[in-house]
Symmetry: C3
Subunit: 505 residues, 3 copies
């Protein structure tokens, strides 16, 4: 198998296979050894004239500094923005345009963080230069997962098979536990032991997935039980901001059980890992633990440098500069693989739908009362068309008619956002020529749902599961009122896998 990271986008931990993970660990170990052998400057000209752009829509010191350090030690340069205050983003510039602007500045790689899931895959689609995901909302932060794996690799004599790891605290919110578990599942004889309150436990689908990949998952009664049975304990802080209905005080009270103090670790050989930062107010980790041999989280932070240095080196060393094209046509090559639920059996529609319209569109099954809003949003008038919203009080049905033949992408998206079950009927020569539902990713934090961004929804078939190309959340077609036959046809509609993304895990 050929391993090649040159100009490759780094979007999700699931894009890496076992061999690639191990290869990166080996390269990172070389970076580690250079440092430990007092040869820090050994590669200080490797990326001369290469430049990294950082685009942090949410500010960050840790991730940004780590990438910049990697670039600095390889002799490259960097520039970018951190926080959107005062940037063009405030002036409603799209991700697409901002990425193009940065690419026009002849950077060789982009590291980006953005609050919305899927934004990074979109940025990668737009840019011809490689893009690294520095965190897209709750979704992914793959270099964090890679550095976690690399830390385990270093602390396990470079052999990840057979390790046992503990999780405690809040396992249901946040991306770290999921990504780390997915990465670990590439290896053999992995055991995960965890302890958490019922509502903060490991998500059931993740447990199932792990089991299907032959990872042992064992729930313990307490943190103490976990720690005394594992080699590594990976801490996770409560994501207070994502918990509804309980007060911060309650959570903090409850989390005390999961707080790490010297008593919990002193008689074990466990190594404590933490993605950092530690919240000192919650006091997740007692200060005495900082002086204990079990503390491994600062090495973990340094390992991030080695890992990112290895990654950037693999991606950019000896690679010819990508020329900025100023064009976006490559986006069209990905094809129009959007999801439509085509409703074939009803092509012969009742007369009332096509009253007055020989050629045009009827939008049916609107949420009652949304028809006026849709007309207003669509600017149908601007396109020189008439639009007749209608509400039938008796049946409670809302629909609208227009003499416009085809709705464009933005119009279809607007209709679906307002009225998710809306059915589009294209009328030709007085007959329903096409009838479908336009389907949009249902993850409300998915970047494709932001109308102004104009991102066409795209999906792919991940061994039976339909996923959004961008936020990678699964799209459950069972939630639609569709027959089994429809479902099969539906999956058949999905495009072939898109070449430049691989989905291994």
């Amino acid at each position: 198998m050929e391993i090649n990271f040159k100009n490759r986008d780094i979007i999700s931990i699931t894009d890496f296979c076992k061999e690639e993970i191990l290869y990166l660990c080996k390269q990172a170990k070389e970076m580690h050894d250079l440092e430990k052998n007092n040869e820090r400057d050994g590669l200080s000209n490797e990326l001369k004239n290469k430049a990294l752009a950082y685009m942090f829509y949410e500010p960050s010191t840790r991730t940004k500094t780590s990438f910049i350090t990697a670039m600095r030690q390889l002799g490259g340069s960097w520039d970018g923005f951190s926080g959107i205050e005062g940037t063009s983003v405030m002036k409603k510039e799209t991700i697409r345009d901002t990425v193009m602007m940065m690419e026009a500045n002849h950077f060789d790689v982009i590291v980006m963080r953005h609050p919305l899931g899927g934004s990074l895959q979109w940025a990668a689609d737009v840019a011809l230069i490689p893009v690294i995901n520095g965190g897209d909302g709750e979704n992914e932060h793959p270099t964090q997962s890679l550095l976690d794996i690399f830390t385990l690799y270093l602390l396990s004599d470079e052999n990840l098979d057979g390790i046992s790891i503990g999780f405690g605290g809040d396992l249901s919110h946040g991306r770290t536990i999921r990504s780390l578990s997915l990465a670990l599942s590439c290896f053999k004889d992995i055991t995960i032991r965890w302890a958490a309150e019922d509502f903060l436990g490991m998500p059931e689908d993740l447990v199932e997935l792990m089991k299907s990949r032959e990872v042992g998952v064992i729930r313990e009664k307490s943190v103490e039980d976990v720690i005394s049975n594992v080699q590594f304990y990976y801490m996770t802080r409560p994501q207070l901001e994502r918990m509804e209905g309980i007060t911060q005080k309650d959570v903090m009270e409850m989390m005390k059980k999961y707080r790490i103090d010297l008593n919990k670790v002193k008689e074990s050989n466990v190594k404590l890992m933490h993605p950092l930062p530690v919240n000192s107010e919650i006091a997740e980790i007692d200060y005495e633990v900082y002086f204990d041999g079990s503390q491994a989280f600062f090495q973990q932070a340094e390992n991030g440098i080695f890992l990112r240095k290895a990654l950037l080196h693999e991606m950019l060393k000896g690679v010819e500069s990508v020329q900025f094209s100023g064009k976006l046509n490559h986006l069209l090559e990905y094809g129009n693989n959007r999801l439509k639920r085509i409703i074939k059996e009803n092509v012969k529609e009742k007369r009332r739908f096509i009253d007055n319209i020989t050629n045009g569109t009827v939008v049916d099954h609107l949420l009652p009362g949304t028809e006026q809003e849709i007309v207003a949003e669509l600017d149908l008038m601007d396109r020189g068309s008439s639009a007749i919203p209608a509400h039938l009080p008796k049946s409670g049905k809302s629909f609208l008619k227009t003499d416009l033949r085809e709705l464009n992408e933005r119009e279809l998206k607007k209709i679906t956002l307002i009225s998710p079950e809306a059915t589009i009927n294209y009328i030709k020569d007085g007959k329903v020529a096409d009838k479908f539902v336009y389907l949009l990713c249902k993850n409300i934090n998915c970047v494709t749902r932001v109308v102004n961004e104009d991102i066409p929804p795209k999906f792919y078939d991940d061994t039976g599961t339909i996923r959004c190309r961008y936020c990678r959340k699964s799209y459950s077609i069972t939630s639609e009122k569709v027959s089994q036959k429809e479902k099969e046809e539906f999956i058949n509609l999905l495009p072939e896998g898109i070449e430049q993304i691989k989905f291994h895990a």
Copy 2:
């Protein structure tokens, strides 16, 4: 003609003559060719040890990144600030002191953006190192104009004579249209076609100026009419923030006519230009246009790199470092060419003015009721003088007397800001020795009107038009109640052209 940009300030597009513009285009084309021939790093040591300071009083990503990229590719370094949060500016540091502070840090060039017109000319006057205007309020942004011109140059086979360009949207606000028109007027057989709502049309004085410079200016009925008759269409977004009395909704509704969609461009050969960023909320440009061959705005962004790279290279390559003097005496060399309307005929003044004063000052023609405020503002008492404000109820006249012989610059400015028609009478040996009105730039966004900045107002004669040296707005002496004779004498008072600025356009 010798063309020399070494250590030259870049303040206004009008500082460049045709030969200079063409020379920069040629140099930028070389930068462009290096990139397109995969020789991006060809000049990567040219500005080794040169450093650029960025001083962005208003934050910017686009302009800052572009200059930094240029510097990076030439092997130089950079540092500075973007946004004034947390800087000394918040502690009421003057532009003068901040510029001196940056100059003390041994930078070789300053790029600065500031919200007030004229601030950049002032910064250039203060600094011995060259200063580039990155935008001074509504006034100028010369490297934007130069990159626009360079884009036209590239797209017109390096021949700017004879081109036709369209403008649409909001042509009366913002600096882009004016600056680009002025630059284009250096070339032959230029045609401008425009379409806009009446109140957003090309300013009449600009149309007149263009015509006097033999540029064809034609108003069309619609954007479609413009686009089908020009080679280039330069888009301008509505400057909502600068329109009074109409709602944002109204403007957006109205601007729909000027929105560019595929229908408008698909049957033309027009190239679309835009200074960016595009406001996605207003949807100035339909997303389908991004994929069309007419889209040239991203190349335009890249051209900004080439142009700035060429400019910095010309300014700094092989130039000896300017030593920081720590002194400001060079400012005195520009002379005291402030504007005073001297009123000679009334030198023998009525007795009442000089009652009680043998030597001192009488300030007359105050706006009624302002005399107390002026006394308070002047701190005359601090200077050990008496000050007697007076208001004659019968005549409605306000004036004040002080035994202080001469008012200093700050005092004259304060008086004039409060009471624009105030007349200063210096009394000597019981007689009026001098009588004048101190004239200040009337542009309320001009930096010279900020008292704390202590910038002496200066003016120059631009072939018959008197202009503020800083914001370059014209000063209409006809608005003063002055005779023709006075007017001539007034112009005679103006200083000779100041060497280090050239006004070609």
Copy 3:
């Protein structure tokens, strides 16, 4: 005497002896001469591959830019943060963890600014790489003092003995006057003349200290009297934000006497110094003075570059990279030199204290009514112990008992913050085995008082004065109710001087 700055922390001006100050001045003079001889780039590879981290918890342009310029001219690189908006600090990360994070990024030196006194000594304790104090609250800013001294050195023909300097304005707030005085006191025949309002005068303890070090200190009646009798006049702006009970307007009115205008300086040979920025609103310095030969504050700003260049060069040139350990154990080597007032004579305590407790702790002498708050704060329950707060209404005494044997550092600190006179009694086998008061620095702006930071209070004996190791404020034991014998024992408890800090001044 060997002078060695390699990897040395720069925390306080008092850490430098006369020889070291003169050595740095000499080195800075060489940097100055390079510049003035047009050899700016003479050292542009000296710190190749060395990197500076800036950690500005309070934003700064001036200090940050100056350090970066120094690093740039020596060929090094830099990265960091300025302002905590959007950093991990907002997520309650401790100084300790943030410093460790930056150190993990393989920087060679840290420059840090923080609002709390002592934070920089703490950062220096945590980091194995050297730390430079860029300002810790009202405490110290040693490179400012050094550049002031260097400016005096340059302007005095490289001989600091015998100089006379004036201070005016606000001499009681701010750190500049104190630090500069302390540095000057290393030299011979120094005279300080000052003029200020009574409540803004030189602090008495500083005057006493200066006199004990044979510095002449003379109060004058006016700024004019000061200026006409000194070679240098060092301006200090009113620290309005630190004055209570008087309005800004009052202060500004009052400060007019101290405003420098041309009249005050024109007949003197004084050189005007100012740490900058000048507040233009207050108009501390009249603009005409900027053009006068007496103005030396811009040279002073440039001298900051030379001084910092020299300092960084001394600290880092030829020094092997410090390896990041990921551990904090070196902090334990400093020993547990916290201050406890041990109360020996009462070891046999009344029965009621140890009722019910054979082994445990009794906390006595609580502020009445604080016992419940202390129990809540301590989380004693979490540690599996019982805690019985008690209030004896008759005697008004509050105390609490717990069966927990020893309180940890954080618990002792929390008790003392709530109830400063609390006495801790450790009970063993039914007897009081140990009884003491835990003493904490009394400076409310000292970083050691922030519980979350977990900084152990430490003190040292500065020739008879007990000082906090961190904020260096003196700890007056006379304010405690202790006998002379106790006091002596108390001082005996202090640890030996800690090797890596020297206290010369």
